[in-house]
Symmetry: C2
Subunit: 409 residues, 2 copies
């Protein structure tokens, strides 16, 4: 039971032309014309493969291969066809095309699976309209109805607007909800979006979890005096006060673990003139780790440092979202599949969010990573070599087979 590598790569190429513009990569914003064409393309491919297709009330495109017992549980192979503006052709699309190829191979072989297999393209993973991972969260009942009516900018379309534009009713999304007890698990293949696999010369990442994210904004007050007439000794410079933490924060994160990251992504000075002492310095802090305690410790250290060294500062929490751990049993099946295929694999966390996250509270969930060349994603320069793509799809195929073998009565 081997996938057809040539057919799989040809599908990925073909899909990569939908919404492609020379020099500007692929743009398929959720439910725009290009995304709708990609969905049609997928529905056609699924039907050709003999899958039962439908589009659920949240706009998720579903292709189903029935197992021995159509009333039994279902294993989902999910990802998304939508992209960021000027994105690449792998992010999201790869997981769908790999799932399609596995389902097609299984359909062709006539294998009777111990559960139904569904390949699903989830609506608006990238959060073009509002919050991201909408379709997968709608399926688990954790998307709020208000999200349908929010938009990212004045005048930008809401999901409800886009639903209406393509002729769907935005008021039925509850019907997309599925009972977790009817689902066997969730599996997703994705490009790493970081450079770790490539640097280490490894083909497959077996994802152990999706990191948590803690975000803060810090505001430091100084006195915005004339830079020419205010001696150094009497200044209250908000930038000078804040600046040691720009170097300390990364050190604190590295001291906790190799996996943790800490980023000061933006700094803004007011008034921000060459000849005026910074009267105000605002900066952002983002911490990511699988381990909530590591984030909490670095957060507390930052808070203490500010209290002690920059009394005129305020630290505001934007949000604190803990990481999730993926399913040990499914991870073990992936590790075995990596051995079956004869490639190199490693365990690693995911630093970015994925549809998989929507399922972790409810289902056994797992993810398979393939390398991203130079760690680049969300860019026309996104690239994964064909042999790496094929290795990933083969690992997915073997993973499905191993789960099926383990679940067979």
């Amino acid at each position: 039971m081997k996938i057809d590598a040539k057919r799989f790569l040809a599908d990925l190429e073909e899909l990569g032309k939908i919404g492609y513009h020379e020099g500007q990569g692929v743009t398929r914003l959720a439910l725009d014309d290009a995304d709708m064409r990609a969905r049609e393309w997928l529905l056609d491919k699924m039907e050709e493969a003999g899958l039962k297709t439908r589009v659920d009330a949240a706009g998720n495109v579903i292709g189903r291969l029935e197992g021995r017992d159509p009333e039994g549980k279902t294993l989902i192979i999910g990802s998304h066809l939508d992209t960021v503006p000027q994105g690449g052709k792998y992010d999201g699309a790869l997981g769908i095309v790999a799932g399609l190829e596995c389902a097609r191979t299984l359909a062709e072989s006539g294998t009777a699976l111990p559960w139904n297999l569904e390949v699903i393209d989830f609506t608006d993973e990238e959060g073009h309209h509002f919050a991201g991972t909408f379709g997968s969260r709608a399926m688990m009942g954790t998307a709020a109805r208000e999200e349908l009516y929010g938009s990212k900018a004045e005048g930008a379309p809401s999901l409800a607007d886009s639903f209406e534009r393509v002729g769907w009713d935005p008021d039925n999304i509850d019907e997309a909800r599925r009972d977790p007890s009817t689902l066997r698990g969730y599996l997703e293949m994705h490009v790493e979006q970081g450079g770790t696999l490539e640097r280490r010369g490894i083909d497959i990442g077996v994802v152990t979890g999706i990191v948590g994210i803690y975000r803060y904004v810090i505001e430091v007050e100084g006195h915005a005096n004339h830079a020419g007439t205010t001696p150094m000794a009497v200044r209250k410079d908000a930038l000078v006060a804040a600046s040691p933490v720009f170097g300390l924060l990364p050190e604190w994160a590295r001291a906790r673990s190799d996996e943790m990251v800490a980023t000061i992504g933006d700094v803004a000075i007011k008034p921000g003139a060459m000849n005026i002492i910074p009267g105000h310095c605002r900066f952002t802090v983002e911490l990511r780790s699988l381990v909530a305690e590591d984030m909490a410790r670095v957060r507390d250290r930052l808070d203490d440092w500010l209290d002690e060294n920059v009394p005129d500062s305020v630290m505001r929490t934007v949000y604190e979202k803990d990481g999730v751990f993926l399913d040990e049993e499914l991870m073990s099946h992936i590790h075995h599949a990596v051995e079956d295929v004869g490639v190199k694999g490693t365990s690693m966390p995911s630093g970015a969010g994925h549809d998989a996250q929507s399922f972790t509270p409810f289902l056994p969930t797992a993810m398979i990573f393939v390398p991203s060349h130079r760690g680049i994603s969300h860019s026309p320069e996104e690239y994964t070599a064909p042999e790496q793509l094929v290795a990933g799809a083969r690992v997915m195929m073997h993973t499905i087979k191993r789960i099926a073998d383990a679940d067979a009565p």
Copy 2:
């Protein structure tokens, strides 16, 4: 020969109402309606005092008290009536009203001076239209004609536009030029615009020089990767690379002298998102000192530090303008005048630029500072106590007298 303190303070109050708006301070942008009304007010006061008035080809308002020999040299008491937007009532205006009071007192006493005395309001000291200290530089022949046609923003008026608006010919500014050999010297009284005098409990600053200004823009390159998927160990973060210098630069300046200042007034990060590693960090550096060597040393130290620690950086010179030293003989007369009046004086540099700077290459030039409460200027909160204002005007009166006594044949 004593000034009339009450009259002097009343004049300053009256002038401070022209262009005043409740809660927003004084706004007299050069050659706007409020500035033109202030000029009319000054011409009236000068004429009442018996001075000969004229407006020169650069728009400078001149009131002249002739000395023993009208063909002889002239001592200039200068400053400016224009303000920044929402400025105070002391900056610029004080020097004019103090000069007016001294000339009036001298005129009333019938004193025959060994030179002519001119009180001059210089056009656009604040650089509302373009470069600042326009009128005083036009008088010394160092204002470029192109400055008349420049403006600070798309659609903003040029000096030529404003000249035409008030009915003047912008093409005659060369006629404002004066031969330095016909001038005895230049004297200006001004608020300190810093907090040094107040902090030290001193009434009068005898200005030793006007500091030089060296300005740079530094651009640091990093790699703008995804903050979630790029481990700390492989990051190239432009902010982390640049940040040590935010704390080091002030230390280097302080190590050179108490007088030197160094300011990083603005920092900008690109792309500047919470979840993206800074790929670019741009910051400004301004050095000020009377001593050019101190500025050059700190500049070189910065340059070396960047070469060694941040190889992917570029340091661009915006400009390097050395400081100027004021005239020792005139300074000495001011010190004696401070003793005459019986107040406390000290020598100090000026950290800000003034019309006086236009004259230093050509004439004996001196400046008298009075305290600025909390060091605030260019603000509605600008304040100097009445007794401090009066002490300043008395010192100016005695300075004029001492120069006259020394110059008397």
